[in-house]
């Protein structure tokens, strides 16, 4: 893959919600706080973090399913942050697709698979009924099911088959960029392997660009070229996958990496066990967001928030230890 221009670029994206705390008072919840990411054509960017850290919100903004409260979203260098519904539909929806974690809740249980898969083609008025059927059949074969599945309903399928349908529905419009939001988290390990293999195969075949969201460090490693680690709405570290897994810099990433089982599962590793929980996202402390759980916390962390700085080429970290 030639080192090309970024396909998708998030520039200082924020997303805040007003959460009512009482009848008259509202509090601002910053789900995403100044996130900048870029994904190059043909690449997979892994986004890892714990529940509530804002990774799904970031994914939805990258797919422009949500409008950011601040910052810019560029697609092929073009600003699409403020694109209206019509423009979005015409220009972006076909090129950007989203695969959800739970294929059962994202597939209409009353539609047969054929109709579920044909719907995007119909809405976008891409082809007539005959051709639609043909393309649905082809797509089913591409994802490893046979054309007879078009007549079945979602409840007749297993979890792995349903996730295949979720992927097929995203790919039937021939998109360029696909956001995969925890696509294998609900699946058993043997089925998970099938889906991961399929996603890699499809990426090669259709030269897709992925934003892969997961909390599973093994899965992120397997799928990604680059990885960004999120904590409380911020990117705390980003690097090439090998660099991040072999030389994690941020204390949070270091703790995460200490939980990645070695290739020999029995090899006992020294685990870094963090104190406490994630702080309440409504009351993020001033200074570094990780200060409440960090073993290396010093005075500066309590007052000034670190910013993402390059520690070595291509490896950036947001921590005062490296400033």
């Amino acid at each position: 893959m030639p080192p090309s221009e970024p396909l998708v670029e998030l520039n200082g994206i924020t997303k805040s919600y007003a959460k009512p705390v009482s009848l008259f008072k509202r509090q601002t919840l910053r789900a995403v706080d100044g996130v900048s990411l870029s994904v190059r054509q043909g690449e997979t960017l892994g986004l890892v973090g714990e529940s509530g850290c804002g990774k799904s919100t970031t994914g939805q903004i990258a797919a422009r399913l949500l409008a950011p409260s601040g910052g810019k979203l560029l697609y092929r260098g073009e600003d699409v942050t403020g694109a209206g519904a019509g423009a979005l539909r015409r220009a972006l929806r076909r090129r950007i697709q989203y695969v959800f974690q739970d294929p059962f809740t994202s597939l209409n249980p009353r539609f047969p698979i054929g109709r579920l898969l044909g719907e995007p083609l119909k809405i976008n008025r891409l082809c007539g009924r005959k051709e639609r059927q043909l393309r649905v059949g082809e797509m089913l074969e591409t994802i490893g099911l046979d054309a007879s599945y078009a007549k079945r309903y979602p409840h007749e399928l297993s979890g792995g088959q349903r996730q295949r349908i979720g992927i097929a529905r995203a790919l039937i419009l021939n998109p360029e960029f696909v956001v995969l939001d925890e696509p294998v988290s609900a699946l058993d390990v043997s089925v998970q392997a099938q889906i991961l293999n399929l996603l890699k195969k499809l990426q090669r075949e259709f030269s897709l660009t992925y934003l892969f969201i997961s909390h599973d460090l093994n899965v992120i490693h397997y799928m990604s070229d680059k990885v960004a680690v999120m904590y409380l709405g911020k990117i705390v570290e980003t690097a090439d996958v090998d660099s991040l897994y072999s030389r994690p810099l941020h204390p949070y990433t270091q703790a995460l990496m200490s939980f990645v089982p070695a290739d020999d599962l029995r090899a006992k590793r020294e685990k870094i066990i963090l104190k406490g929980d994630l702080p309440n996202p409504l009351a993020i402390p001033a200074g570094c967001p990780f200060q409440t759980r960090c073993a290396h916390v010093h005075e500066r962390c309590l007052s000034a928030a670190p910013s993402l700085k390059e520690a070595s080429p291509g490896h950036s970290v947001s921590c005062h230890l490296y400033a």
């Binding site: 714990e50 529940s51 297993s158 792995g160 058993d188 390990v189 043997s190 089925v191 998970q192 392997a193 099938q194 991961l196 293999n197 890699k200 909390h215 460090l217 093994n218 899965v219 490693h221 397997y222 996958v241 897994y245 703790a255 995460l256 939980f259 990645v260 089982p261 070695a262 290739d263 020999d264 599962l265 029995r266 006992k268 685990k271 066990i273 963090l274 929980d277 994630l278 759980r293």
Partner: protein, 341 residues
């Protein structure tokens, strides 16, 4: 297997023999959910049960405590606690004296196993007052001590709070505090960390290790996560379609899996070294209850299945070091060669 003499002198803490769990009143009445499951848990030991969804691992744990769903019943076999309490024949009333006292359980999702409408304090002291006859004051003091033991901050004020005010990790700690409140001999943990984030998962596993070391509690750990099992357990049982297909020490099982299913599962985990090659995946699906034929239940997905595998059911045979497998191939090799996939 273990020396017979040792078993005779001191009974295992938990001894399950040839347990059958069947469905009541269905079209195919008598379909087996669990089929001939035997296992023992010794004092202070951690046993892991691993398998994919629907393999029967949760049903097994529920049957120990007499908590089977109403559609299922024990169709045969025995469950002995300390060698003298037959849990399989006990009435619901009798088994209640064990549940929460001798044998405690923690579930995957602490939110659905804690009562939303009652304070944390009530839910901890309830067990203590019921099983140990503590007074209100004694129970309160012990509850504060327990909350501190499981690493929760400000225990006094926590007693007055409700489950929804706590985070997932804190709720799971409360569940563990309730579970260990009566110093149980056996703690059954059914996917205790699956709903939790990785950093919290590490904390909870660490807490369970601490409890095992301090109180000598035996743990039956059910998980689909081989990493967690390898980290925590002494021995492991692999379940597939309602049967134990392999059992052995963590080292034996991970280093020399005998059953092709175990070997396949291990190979399908995306560990870092597998990055640039396709992952191994077990084709096909787990047979449903009514699809389980006369042969080996894994035969339809096994690359090495022979005619015999399709018609005849292999037995769980023990080899060197108590490493056992339910596979004709392992039998033919005398358990000397580990399973290829």
């Amino acid at each position: 297997m273990r020396e017979a003499a040792a078993i005779a002198t001191e009974a295992s803490l938990l001894d399950i023999r040839n347990l059958q769990i069947r469905l009541r009143r269905t079209r195919g009445a008598g379909l087996s959910v669990l089929d001939g499951v035997s296992l023992t848990v010794e004092r202070g030991e951690t046993i892991g049960i691993v398998g994919e969804s629907g393999c029967g691992k949760s049903v097994l744990s529920l049957s120990i405590l007499g908590l089977l769903p109403s559609a299922m019943r024990i169709g045969g076999g025995e469950i002995w606690y300390e060698g003298r309490h037959p849990l399989h024949t006990m009435t619901d009333r009798d088994i209640r004296a064990f549940r929460g006292k001798e044998i405690a359980m923690i579930f995957q999702d602490p939110m659905s196993s804690l009562n939303h409408g009652l304070t944390i304090g009530y839910q901890i002291t309830e067990t203590l007052r019921l099983h140990l006859g503590y007074s209100r004051k004694e129970a309160r003091e012990r509850a504060v001590w327990l909350l501190r033991k499981v690493g929760l901050p400000r225990p006094e004020s926590l007693l007055r709070e409700y489950p929804h005010q706590l985070s997932g990790g804190m709720r799971q700690r409360v569940m563990i505090a309730i579970a260990v409140s009566c110093n149980p001999g056996l703690l059954i943990a059914d996917e205790p960390t699956t709903a939790l984030d990785v950093t919290i998962q590490a904390q909870i596993l660490d807490l369970m290790r601490q409890i095992r070391e301090e109180d000598g509690t035996s743990i039956l750990l059910i998980s689909h996560d081989f990493g967690v099992i390898a980290d925590m357990c002494d021995r492991v049982l692999v379940m597939y379609a309602g049967q134990i297909v392999e059992s052995g020490t963590v080292d034996d099982l991970f280093e020399r899996p005998l059953h092709p299913y175990t070997a396949g599962l291990l190979r399908s985990i995306p560990t870092p070294a597998k990055k640039n090659s396709p992952l191994y995946s077990i084709e096909g699906h787990v047979p449903a209850l009514h699809e389980r034929g006369a042969g080996c239940r894994f035969a339809s997905r096994c690359a090495h299945a022979t005619e015999r595998c399709r018609t005849e059911q292999p037995e769980l045979v023990a080899y060197r070091g108590g490493h056992a497998a339910r596979c004709f191939l392992a039998e033919a090799e005398g358990g000397n060669r580990h399973a290829a996939v």
